[in-house]
Symmetry: D2
Subunit: 367 residues, 4 copies
């Protein structure tokens, strides 16, 4: 195992009392090669973690340490040293991780950031979409975008890992093979996505109350959601040019799950015909056939979020529509798992030389 | 009041024990100008309607009559006569209403068909998408497509009314003004739609069990759903040419609601610029500003199914995406109400000279 | 119509932006004999009501006035006069209405209080359970406990009406006939109740977030819920003695609904036998057979919250268990309707001499 | 490891395509010491298991064998031999397992029965409540009632294990310590229980459709549910006498979970006082303090089904109500896990000498 102190990997979590942070804690508590060094929270500093999350009562036996960003940025390297922390997960809003990272910290500890701070290589785009000045641009080049299945080689040696967003992971994986192979016009790409409510976070807002969300479906962030440039940048790498897409997220009444339905115009083949359904699925199998956590479904299938719930799996399929010359690409994942926590652990596994599926090989539950 | 016997309008329902049929029964039971003459059901013939639908216990006090199509087609005109039925709602699967209608029946009774039998004027398209031979083609010309807000004039005099589908009503109303005004390229139209589970009907199928649908989101009928040609035909009339669109329905875990998110390329104006958000919404207000049941939401809004639940309202908004040159159009309605039962009653109201909102003026409940 | 100014009844709502207040607004907006004079809100003062509640957009066209209790208590009588308000609904937390009522106010305007301030006649019990000093004890005698079906005579002439709680309405109506007739031992009464989440209010609390409640069931307020003494007081009147009961509320994942399952020991009849199921149901029919909004279900039925959703109906049934000598009594209602808003309107109807069901005769929707 | 062939434990499942059967298959597919030998289904014989349960696609790679009871009863011993099956789970309705077991079968293979066939020692009670003649009474004495935490010693050597029901497991564990210690009067016990919908099974019935259950809560099987005598028998052993209780199950809209709220009269202590809350909880800790999968919550807590979802844990707490002299006992578990599949695997682990938590140590997910 690479780059760690002796014994088990020791992990700290900044922002452990949000849904993503708590899910990382839950996964690490079951991980055979990890022990949790500390759990940070500003709102619940000093509180027993198991009293906040009843599922972890008597299982995770730690009190939250205060992780206020202002305070922590001066002390995190020391904290890491004293607690012999091998890896820190920052499950924080945008703008926090950039304040915490430093050469001193990264020389001692790996950082896996769940926020967008190091996802976009283009700092102008980051500042435009997130309305935040980027104060740690010196690490942008080094940071590795951790969509594991597409970047395992780079993840392996990362010190600073930008864990992809939930919508982004699902959107990119769903469209990637056809973009990469030049089978679709990437500038015609429209990504229509549905999210479970845990994606909206654990903040106390009226809009996220049970009765405001239950029995309800609506779009939000239309033509302006921040995951848009992340999808554009990554798929742009795949096709070798800048692209512009439409991305529309929706909130639907379920706890977990991202469902992507993506549309694009198929390019004709050299003979002037459109690719067959089998040719399209063959491309998916070419890229994902050997990926443990990506399942290319049989022709005619439609991925269902419940079939990946609680797991690190991504289910994908696609169907051509010859009446319109388009292809409909579909993907499903669990937003708190492959869309956040279990992908972070998957990245951690790769970064520390563990088997990719260590501690995250759960089979989805049904129902 | 036109075309009826004396006293209240007397209504019969074929297929009253499906969700749409039972919803019509519920609405008619509250309608000040209607009395229910009979309720038909094949599966529950002879059973007390109020024992099947607990919400109607002690309110609708009728036993179901047997409405087996084979039997009924020989007797329905006589039934209508004997029961002095002014209007019959056929809340049946495709293929039933075409067997029941006849000149004899229509000369005595108005028919409002909830199925697709008389929605498509082009019989070839009907037969291709529904795989059923159309046996009552002689009534196709006469049948009026009852999207009330766009066809009130024709509805007024209809004897045979084809009540639009739930997806269709929402899709057409959402896109109509921009198609009609030539502001979008209709052949770039992609309709991505979500439906509550009542849209799948009341049949006992494993796929519709609570545990198979709850905490789940998935597409279905991709590139093949039967509401596609209905949308194409009606929007084709609006723009004066045949069009081809992509339509993708999804099932999401809620009882009621259709949410449409539709995408199309905006045409530039004469000056080469794209229309502003305000210009786009002004077109919606031009067509719908005087429609009681259509609410054009303020700029920046996203329709939410729960805000129309239990009502005949349709909420609509649109937003241009200048990065891509597209517009995102959004609409929401209650699939059992404006998408089925209350639109049928709205049509009945118009057909009998009643105020359009008689008996269906419910304000949506929240939550 | 009694006790009102000319024209329609003019109503004001204090606390109109909670779930109960907004539901009253929705009902009044559909009520043929009422117009809304003003809607109060502290948090949303100055905001358009229709922008806060999308269901009421373009339907309720009023801005919220500031109803901060401190400010309002000095001005409410003047406000009532200036706005010619005939009735004020106080949909506020405990402690607000007692500050607002005064002889001056009640001489001009009727007050229907949705809180507990005037529900308990025994002020010591109020102060013990609610931990609030009661500052308007002079109105306790006058205030009428508005469980309409049991108190229509007193409601008729009320100036100050205490609208019962949701759990309470369901619990009392479910047990009342057997307590009143002396068929059960009231001190063995155990009320186990389930509530939909709207009962927890519209406050922004983590505990009421969608993801904290969905896929979850739990008890709360065990042996300490404040609706307990209200049930005890009212059922105590029924049997003519002080009683003590056990009441356990639970939160279950649905928007609306109260379901009560109550247990008590049956008294033997004079001949030493226990009453038959039919004898038990006959008692229910004796008390409720002529009540428009209470449905005694057939023997063997179990009330279901969805069968009363959106309505003012209460469904009730009971079943003896001869193995244990107990009876299981069951009742269901919609907590925002019969448990709050529509019962308040029902009381208003009675207070103003309108038909009891005016504006609230909705048939429950299903599904 | 005791009593098995070489290598991993080989398991077969009769009735693998119900919810409990499929959940056992999922657990076994993750179990480090087990391999699935065969999966039986009558309805889906010949179908790929992974095509029926999308969550298991590409994970469980077996076709269902036909397990029609009539056919299987003649061949199951041979099947076990040929497939070297060490343990058979019968996830079937009542009446099937009794036809399959035989001395020949049990001499080769252990049987874990998920049905009620061998749960009740008193065959008269079985036949009365289940209306089935018991055809394998010779195994009733030998069969071990597998409530692991209370019977690990007997489970260890069992050949035929009766896996307890979901309601039963939760009810018994919740009340057992106070019954066993004589702190409550067991004949005053009232068990009020809520169940998620997966408890109703995977059969295609209208009553279990999404729209029939969602936004709904109701009791069922009042005074007649078949789990009643199972609770009575087991708690009767605990107190050493026959007891009679009231048990009322309810269906609430969530996939998984059993919540028990149980009521009983506290006995006074020798000094005439009632036991303190701390004394009550101490009794729970005495019995469960060393049980891995039972968590006694802190005083004042209310178990929540979501805090045990997806796990084998049971959360328990209790609160005295001194006003009434009763105690309210509360317990929560996942009906498909501790209430069915994971308890079955826990029993298997004990029967084969494995650590009790092997393959079932999942931490509950939240949300």
């Amino acid at each position: 195992m690479a780059n760690k102190r002796e014994g088990k990997i020791r992990a700290g979590i900044v922002g452990a009392t949000g849904y993503a942070g708590a899910e990382i804690a839950r996964l690490l508590a079951m991980h055979p090669d990890v022990e949790i060094a500390w759990l940070g929270s500003r709102s619940y500093a000093g509180k027993a973690f198991g009293s906040l999350f009843g599922n972890l009562y008597q299982i995770v036996d730690l009190d939250c340490i205060d992780d206020d960003t202002e305070r922590l940025k001066a002390t995190i390297a020391q904290l890491a040293e004293e607690t012999r922390t091998d890896v820190i997960f920052t499950a924080t809003p945008q703008g926090a991780c950039m304040q915490l990272v430093s050469e001193e910290l990264l020389s001692r500890t790996k950082v896996i950031d769940m926020s967008a701070d190091f996802r976009l290589k283009n700092v102008d785009i980051y500042q435009k979409w997130y309305k935040i000045e980027h104060t740690a641009q010196q690490f942008l080049d080094e940071a590795v975008y951790g969509l594991c299945e597409l970047a395992a080689d780079r993840v392996k040696d990362a010190r600073l890992l930008a864990n992809p967003g939930c919508y982004t992971t699902c959107s990119i994986l769903t469209a990637y093979p056809l973009v990469k192979e030049g089978m679709i016009d990437p500038n015609t790409l429209i990504v229509d996505a549905l999210s479970g409510v845990s994606g909206a976070g654990r903040g106390a807002k009226v809009a996220n109350l049970y009765c405001e969300v239950n029995e309800s479906a609506k779009a939000y962030g239309v033509a302006s959601h921040r995951h848009t440039p992340e999808i554009e940048e990554q798929l742009g790498y795949a096709c070798g040019s800048d692209i512009t897409i439409t991305f529309t997220p929706h909130l639907v009444p379920m706890n977990r799950g991202i469902l992507v339905t993506a549309y694009a115009e198929l390019f004709s083949k050299a003979d002037g015909t459109l690719p067959t359904e089998e040719e399209i699925l063959a491309v998916y199998r070419k890229y994902y056939g050997d990926k443990h956590f990506i399942r290319v479904l049989p022709a005619g299938s439609c991925p269902d979020t419940r079939c990946v719930e609680g797991s690190n799996y991504v289910d994908i399929c696609a169907k051509p529509d010859y009446r319109t010359g388009r292809v409909i690409m579909m993907g499903a994942l669990d937003n708190l798992m492959k869309g956040a926590a279990s992908q972070a652990v998957q990245n951690m596994n790769i970064m520390f030389g563990l088997p990719e599926d260590a501690g995250i090989g759960f089979i989805p539950a049904n129902p």
